[in-house]
Symmetry: C2
Subunit: 459 residues, 2 copies
């Protein structure tokens, strides 16, 4: 006998949690489609030479390689031919380069699939997790206006997910670079080292970080460090405040001015997309991997749960697929790591176990009633109501108990009395009510109930 | 520069085909949920000792094993710790055994995920493909009545997929065993050998199969072979005909009678579920792996495309998870291999490239109009209409051409004239019509159009 178990670092859910998770995925997908993004799915495996083109340190160490039985038996010299994707960006780059001549640009795609990382097993860290990405890819160029679509789409997603107040935070890599230059810090590598220290503000506190930056090997002037700390402390409080803060930054150098102009354009369009100003701010501390992003960068946090960190991040990049094609493909994108998010929302009590996807149980009291049970189930299903039919008679109390525990709202009964009258009895476990209705009218009446309830829940 | 490409044997689609594929998945899921099945997802990787408990010949040879960079560097003696699932049945068995005490039985689950097989690369054979399974698992026992839910659910799926007439075909393993016994063929292994030959009827023709069975090593009497060939040629033409054929079979031995009783019960309930009698027949030639199924077995074929073979198969099994738990878990299930099905339907011209998931494009003629374009897009999206906003001005003809090629139905224009009047112009590319509507009323009027169209398309 083998002990049934999964590997560590995967999230496997019981059905009612799976229903809740599926609703999160559905909401994300619905909103991505609403913003005009097109679906793409790629194979979970990529050829290793295609996947691992970058000289990746950490990332490559965490890759899962794949070998068929045959390949394994032949014995492996070198890197196996296949590997599991570790994000959706490299597969997107490969996809766009491969299908370049069949795609219309700007190419707007969403992709919601699982990715794999050989992480050290640890609570809340996942080796298999869903990413839900949107990207817009331009050919040769892509207007900065598209950077405004990311906050707009993300705002729609998180509003509908209804997980409490959140803030979409913007920064711009050119603005950061320009600001560093204005402080006399020109070297990009040194900028990155300094930013890494600044990133520890939350963990180490301002005094410790200040001490590090004035000490060796950084050796920055205390006044420079103070300007830096003031800069990264900037949070705007509304669109007008954001524009005013950007105005005050201009004139020092070209990179800074370019960053200011981009952020101004993005905020102007985000506002025109109707994102409330309380939900989208400037945060000059956001850096997000200096090596990859080149313009706008995004993070999103839950106001009441800052400890969760960013629940949705991304940014603008200059060239998506330089390793696969000579075409220049600039883009902007954002990603929700929804497995981790779901897990954290559940931990924080922000997501409940869902009601069942089953809306009605047709009860069965005795074998003679089976034909009626099946007929009633047929009618409900034909009307689009998710219905389970009780196939074997049980005590009615047990059937109610089952429906209650399973999160099924309606129990429909057709005893011989009801059958004789052409009626059914409906027990509404949500309202705690019971009513009788003609069998012909049952589906219609339950549909009305369900639609009314969905309307009051804002679904 | 690396050539962007995927491994052989995977199906990667352009966006409009992906939309069509997604609609197939959505239809399957919607119908599975309508029949009261609950969603389950399992990790793509299982521990090898959990996955490979059976001494599998072919199946095990086709497994993909997974190793993290770390495990690979350590060097592999023996079987790697992880492997990709090759079906959804073994993960279901593991899931049910692992979560047995948290599940309500009969446990009704659906699962729609990709599975992996190291198949030889060949046109129309996939190494990665979606399976869409439903199963009902009982604890200790499971009424044969549940076997009637599979045809009912599958009938709903394929009716809604609208891929032409199809026939769900039923047989029963007990009935087959009993029939063989009535011919004096008692040995189960010998029965299996004979069935394998009978399975070649389509390919080899009746005379060649007859010759094989009367010859060595089979050595069956010509009269026995004739009875066998008559038996496997049985196709019922309606419920009454099916019951009559079953009646004629009874009385020879216990296994045969048990099979007849089960099929009778299943057909009775399938009929009560409202499955039309033209769509569900007896076919005594269906065997489906003698070693696994123990009662009802199912295949489904497209009437106009018999060469595609079975598009949905399954059956009843005695014990799902004997390798993981002492509990006896009988079940019944059915599976749609939707990647292959989609590919074949496309090859046969039964599935078109979908229209875009984007329903409206808001055009942009000049930069001054951008705030209006974004405002109109916001209103449409808020009303639930999938909308792309043109972010950079282009010639109007190009924007129409883009929408037309992309399969977007509505192009919405707000030039300065329209803006002054508080109106927009809508070009309906499907109807080839153009009309003007107040900006306030745009979303409502497009929703009506879209819903009417969906209603006429039966969506």
């Amino acid at each position: 006998m083998i002990k049934p178990r999964t590997m560590p670092g995967v999230m496997e859910l019981l059905p009612r949690d799976q229903i809740a998770f599926q609703r999160v995925l559905d909401t994300i997908r619905r909103n991505y489609e609403r913003f005009g993004f097109l679906p793409v799915e790629t194979p979970v495996m990529e050829l290793s030479d295609v996947l691992l083109t970058k000289t990746g340190g950490e990332t490559e160490r965490q890759v899962y390689f794949v070998q068929s039985t045959g390949a394994l038996e032949k014995g492996g010299e070198g890197v196996p031919e296949l590997a599991l994707r570790f994000d959706l960006t490299v597969p997107l780059a490969r996809y766009v380069a491969e299908h370049e001549h069949d795609l219309a640009f700007p190419f707007r795609r969403y992709q919601m699939q699982r990715v794999y990382r050989g992480e050290r097993a640890q609570r809340g860290r996942f080796r298999e997790f869903y990413q839900c990405d949107i990207d817009v890819i331009g050919k040769d160029s892509l207007s900065v206006r598209f950077d405004a679509e990311m906050p707009a789409a993300i705002h729609a997603v998180f509003s509908e997910l209804d997980i409490g107040p959140f803030t979409i935070q913007l920064n711009n890599r050119k603005l950061m670079r320009g600001f560093f230059q204005s402080l006399g810090i020109e070297d990009a590598g040194f900028q990155m080292d300094v930013l890494r220290e600044v990133d520890k503000l939350d963990k180490r506190g301002v005094d410790a970080v200040r001490e590090t930056l004035v000490g060796e090997p950084f050796g920055l002037d205390a006044s420079v460090v103070q300007m830096l700390l003031d800069f990264v402390a900037v949070r705007s409080t509304g669109y007008d405040d954001a524009f005013a803060r950007l105005d005050r930054l201009t004139g020092s150098n070209a990179a800074l001015d370019a960053g200011v102009a981009e952020l101004r354009e993005v905020l102007t369009r985000v506002r025109q997309f109707g994102v409330p100003e309380s939900d989208c701010i400037l945060n000059f501390s956001i850096a997000r991997g200096l090596d990859y992003y080149t313009g706008t960068v995004y993070e999103t946090t839950l106001d009441d749960h800052p400890q969760i960190g960013s629940i949705c991040s991304g940014g603008r990049y200059d060239d998506l697929a330089g390793q696969y094609t000579k075409s220049k493909l600039p883009g902007v994108g954002i990603s929700i790591g929804v497995t981790r998010l779901f897990w954290q929302l559940k931990e924080a009590g922000l997501i409940d176990t869902a009601e069942s996807s089953v809306e009605a149980l047709v009860a069965l009291m005795d074998d003679e009633g089976l034909s009626h049970t099946l007929d009633i189930a047929r009618r409900l299903r034909a009307a689009g109501i998710n219905t389970e039919a009780q196939m074997e008679p049980k005590k009615l109390a047990k059937q109610f108990q089952y429906a209650d525990r399973a999160g099924i709202r309606f129990v429909v009964l057709a005893g011989s009395d009801e059958v004789a009258r052409g009626a059914v009895t409906v027990k509404d476990l949500k309202r705690g009510e019971q009513f009788e209705v003609a069998r012909e009218e049952l589906a219609g009446s339950l549909k009305v109930e369900l639609e009314q309830w969905r309307a009051t829940q804002g679904r």
